[in-house]
Subunit: 210 residues, 2 copies
């Protein structure tokens, strides 16, 4: 049975799951979520996922949301991206850190700066989030000094989680050339066999985008 | 060897780890982080944890940060709070959701409203975060309808993660009586044998607090 992923191109959280599915070589297909028209907040969608979020993975009778949990499911199914046994906690802590400090802020800031009408953008919130994000970029850049991957010697879910919003073209205050180690590491990920940009992996949902 | 937890009373993230250690019956002791005087951002601390955060667990030669990863470590060590085997992903997704949508926002909002001088509080940020939090409380309250615990029939890391900031007395816009299912569920957790309030489990770090 082909795995279905409810997702849309603009979601870096969906990208984390889509990229893991794709790089793991699993058979999967997209179910597009009409996010900007409230597609993740309908009663029917909430019936499947009370969190009212994308991504949502459906594998036969099994369904799962939250990108980090989906990544763990893919790891358990394929043996990929979990790192060595001794690295398990290190992978998990970077996935959690990403959800707590990096993607959560980056996704929101990019949304406010690009997907809201100009006169509705809360400037103080944007500036505040950008300053918190600067601290997160610094932490990641510091950690990547002398490393090719966040944990150990190979790509893991830690990389596939932390990278997600950093490939998008819309401005949200991140310039990869300001962070040489992040820049190099993003290059390592995009050089992986089978890597695709989020907009090549999932259909866009923003009205007018193609 | 007694486990050491670098923590401080005001941190709900530290509380998630401290409460899991305490309820699991492990031997552990506090190492107080002087957070409000920059104690988590010194070079020496960052040497131990590049994320410059509390909590940080030290168990002999092993060290680990991020509350959700520490909870997993405690589960692996004691067999507690992981839920049934089939519930593993459900526990993980609620821990991730908490980090992404609930604790990250609640912790920040409470900090801005209570631990910053009044004239430095960014009002637009506080209002914005409170409206995002309202959506998170609603999701959790909806999910807890007819349930005693977030996952399955017993307390798991999902509960010990999501509850953390909701026990604090400082105002940040959350009133448990507005959410009857959350209110009942918080009561279930605090009725557990050995439960302690964050300020009874960890020393306070805010200047002047006792």
């Amino acid at each position: 049975m082909t795995i279905k992923l409810h997702c849309f191109g603009e979601s870096g959280n969906a990208y984390k799951a889509a990229l893991a599915l794709e790089l793991a070589g699993l058979e999967w297909e997209v179910v597009k979520v009409d996010f900007f028209n409230g597609g993740s907040r309908t009663d029917a969608y909430r019936e499947q996922n009370v969190m009212a979020e994308a991504p949502l993975l459906i594998d036969g009778d099994f369904s799962l949301s939250q990108s980090g949990a989906i990544q763990q499911y893919i790891t358990d199914k394929t043996g990929k991206f979990g790192g060595e046994a001794a690295e398990k906690y290190e992978v998990l802590r970077w996935v959690l850190w990403d959800n707590h400090k990096l993607s959560s802020q980056a996704g929101m800031t990019r949304f406010l700066m690009n997907f809201l009408p100009e006169d509705k953008r809360p400037e103080q919130v944007i500036k505040f989030s950008q300053s918190r994000l600067a601290a997160a970029y610094n932490t990641l850049n510091m950690h990547l000094e002398g490393r090719d991957w966040i944990v150990g010697r190979n790509v893991t879910n830690a990389d596939l989680s932390c990278c997600s919003y950093l490939y998008y073209p819309e401005p949200f205050g991140f310039n990869r050339t300001d962070f040489p180690n992040i820049d190099r590491w993003l290059g390592n990920i995009s050089a992986l066999d089978g890597w695709k940009h989020p907009y090549d992996l999932m259909p866009r949902a923003f009205p007018g985008a193609s």
